[in-house]
């Protein structure tokens, strides 16, 4: 029988006490009033908040102590992450660094790179962004055209990246770049570089999204010099490296909690004006959320044991983002037509926000179509 591994796991007691710590921290830092404002979430950067999170020991939680990490376990980390996300905390500045850039450095970086970059990441001071998509290469990542040619002491990079979330507040980018022509496979000849976004020749142009928010940017490289010691991993091994990075990007609780805030606010509304439709709507969404969370915890445990959960991560991301999109659509469909109080207007505003932000959920970090292709491969269909 075809088996995907989603064996649920029970949380350790240490994770439960951590959860209470995080909740207490959030009550102090964010208060309850924030919940009715437009949800800030994991893409929203707030450097001051990131530093506070860091001082609690919640960045680099599972990294080695010698790099500033805390050597906690994956389930403890999962609990902390999900509490921050469920609260809509503004973790955007450090999120990518913690989730994938740091682990990528741990896996493929030199000792010097780890010593240089990991400790400030764990202090919430250093922020990375992701350099993958380009105007002509989105889902087809191997079609990237940004090139690096070898020069004395390093490389010269020319090209551009696009849809780079928070590039404008980031210090470094881990960029996938072509360093050699492919011979037998177009996956050959790719490499990853750690690029200082303050380098001469780099310009960053934020793009307004359909809500008028500038959350992602185009980044242009005009003969940007990158020193040899900023090559990440092996030259030509970029495709394998990026594949690893992608499952890190896909499997976290942010893949089903992006619009949870709206469900929570609707829950308060329903508690005040309860009816059958409200109960059923909440019950339906709660059952899905409960299941997604169990799957996510299973993946965290699976990965912690050194197993490869990349297909499971694709499953979770597809189901999770569909769920995230359902929340505003469902709630919009069941709200009473007469909404006058301030609280009711706040819900309407939140519905409007998530209706507009939801198309992104199933596009970013790997489109739904790509994910389904990955799952189909595991089913031996391709």
């Amino acid at each position: 029988m075809l088996q995907l591994n989603f064996r649920p796991v029970e949380l350790p007691a240490s994770a439960l006490s951590l959860r209470q710590e995080v909740r207490a921290f959030l009550r102090t830092e964010l208060g309850l009033s924030v919940r009715c404002q437009l949800p800030r979430s994991w893409t929203t950067p707030d450097p001051e908040f990131s530093r506070k999170v860091a001082s609690q020991g919640w960045i680099g939680m599972i990294w080695p102590r010698k790099y500033g990490g805390w050597e906690r376990n994956a389930l403890e980390r999962h609990v902390v992450m999900e509490e921050l996300l469920a609260a809509g905390a503004p973790v955007g500045a450090h999120w990518i660094s913690d989730r994938q850039s740091g682990p990528q450095l741990l896996r493929f970086g030199t000792e010097a790179q780890k010593q240089r970059f990991l400790p400030p990441i764990t202090r919430g001071e250093l922020y990375f962004c992701i350099g993958m998509s380009e105007p002509s290469a989105g889902s087809d990542l191997a079609a990237i055209r940004t090139r690096a040619i070898q020069v004395e002491g390093g490389w010269l990079v020319n090209g551009s990246k696009i849809w780079t979330t928070n590039a404008d507040i980031s210090h470094f980018m881990i960029a996938l770049v072509r360093t050699a022509e492919p011979s037998t496979s177009r996956h050959q000849g790719l490499s990853q570089f750690i690029i200082d976004l303050g380098s001469p020749g780099i310009s960053i142009r934020p793009i307004k999204d359909l809500m008028g928010v500038r959350q992602f940017s185009e980044v242009f490289f005009n003969s940007v010099f990158v020193s040899q010691d900023m090559l990440l991993g092996s030259s030509g091994d970029g495709w394998n490296q990026v594949t690893t990075e992608l499952w890190l990007e896909r499997s976290g609780p942010e893949r089903y909690l992006s619009s949870y805030q709206l469900l929570e606010v609707y829950g308060w509304f329903a508690a005040q004006y309860p009816d059958t439709i409200a109960y059923q709507t909440i019950g339906n969404l709660t059952a899905q959320l409960w299941t997604l969370r169990q799957m996510s915890i299973a993946i965290a445990d699976h990965a912690a044991q050194g197993l490869d959960p990349s297909v499971e991560a694709a499953v979770l991301k597809d189901l999770g983002t569909t769920f995230e999109q359902q929340i505003p659509a469902h709630i919009q469909s069941v709200l009473p037509s007469e909404m006058h109080s301030d609280r009711q207007k706040a819900i309407q505003e939140m519905v409007n926000y998530f209706l507009q932000s939801s198309p992104a959920f199933s596009i970013r970090g790997g489109t739904r179509e790509i994910l389904r292709g990955i799952i189909a491969r595991r089913l031996a269909l391709r």
Binding site: A271, A287, Q288, R293, Q294
Partner: protein, 353 residues
């Protein structure tokens, strides 16, 4: 049971279930297959939840999940799930476990009267849609008695049986009792609606797994336009979606089983049943669509699974029932938020750190 013991048992029953399923006709018969039932009793799987000291396997909810996943996968037309469950409930309730197949259901409109102060309890009423009601000697049910819900075990000897079946042809019979003496037993942690939902989750999970495997095999073999259906992207993506649903329901089933060990898992069981229900429509559509016309025949095995899935979605709580239950539970004032309602329950089940 140890993990190894579970694996051994599940491996054995899986082969047995496959064998028994292959001997079944395409349209389920209305009588219990006695020789098949005897094989199950010989293996002892029907006493899975009975303690070892009483001759059973001493298994728990997780073991039940594994066994019923297999039973659901092979779509056996036998009251295995019901018998295992009821035998598991009777012992701890201090009741004698009768031999043979046994079943249960919930009833909302019947009531129990006590005939005399020290006399036997006497029941008049109808238990509807009892799984395999016509084939069993005893039935377990929860009933209202003077504003209190009681659990009752009744012999079916004097019951009037009205035979009926669900969409899959599984017997679902009404049992009418008039002044029948019954035994009241200890109710335990969970009501029968919740327990019924739990076993159906396990079976639904198995049947979904079956239709995924069958569909994948079919599209790899079937050729049109000069190539296997599996090479068409639309088919690949449809089956990927089916695989996602199968994975989600299996995870939910296992998580509900784990939670049930704690004795306080009504929330998890409700969530799992609802999640399983939500998977049925889309999953059965995909499986049928990928099969084309051959999947519409009685002869091909797809319908044995899909008709059960459609039936089981409604048994022991459809979407409306559990979504309303869960919505009320999630808005319970003990938790400030839905998130807390879900996560604070982790505290009931903690592994040593």
């Amino acid at each position: 049971m140890s993990a190894e013991a579970t694996d051994t048992l599940v491996g054995a029953v899986d082969r047995l279930f496959e064998h028994l399923a292959s001997a079944e006709g395409p349209r389920d018969t209305s009588s219990l297959n006695e020789s098949a039932w005897r094989r199950l009793e010989e293996v002892g799987v029907t006493s899975l939840l009975v303690p070892e000291t009483e001759g059973g396997y001493g298994g728990g909810w997780r073991d039940l999940e594994a066994v019923l996943h297999s039973a659901g996968f092979w779509a056996l037309s036998l009251p295995i799930a019901e018998t295992i469950l009821v035998r598991g409930l009777l012992g701890p309730a201090g009741a004698q476990v009768p031999p043979g197949a046994i079943s249960f259901n919930v009833t909302t409109d019947a009531s129990l009267q006590c005939a005399a102060e020290h006399g036997p309890n006497v029941f008049t009423g109808t238990i509807r849609d009892v799984p395999w009601g016509r084939n069993i000697s005893f039935v377990l049910f929860d009933v209202l008695a003077e504003r209190e819900r009681l659990r009752v075990l009744a012999s079916t000897e004097a019951a009037f049986v009205t035979a009926s079946s669900n969409i899959a042809g599984e017997p679902r019979d009404d049992l009418k009792f008039v002044n029948a003496p019954v035994t009241v037993i200890n109710k335990g942690n969970y009501d029968l609606m919740t327990l019924g939902a739990l076993i159906r989750v396990f079976q639904i999970s198995g049947a979904l797994d079956y239709i995924l495997n069958l569909s994948v095999r079919y599209v790899l073999e079937r050729k049109q336009f000069g190539r296997p259906l599996a090479e068409f992207q639309v088919i690949q993506h449809q089956l990927a979606v089916l695989a996602e649903e199968v994975a989600a329901v299996r995870c939910a089933a296992m998580a509900a089983a784990s939670a049930a060990e704690s004795g306080f898992a009504s929330f998890e069981i409700a969530a799992a049943k609802l999640r399983a229900n939500l998977a049925v429509s889309h999953s059965t559509s995909i499986a049928h669509q990928c099969h084309g016309a051959i999947g519409l025949t009685e002869e091909y095995s797809l319908q044995r699974a899909t008709r059960r899935l459609w039936a089981w979605r409604s048994e022991f709580g459809n979407d409306r029932y559990w979504s309303e239950w869960l919505g009320i539970e999630a808005l319970n004032l003990r938790s400030l938020t839905i998130w807390q309602a879900i996560t604070d329950r982790d505290g009931d089940r903690v592994s040593p750190s």
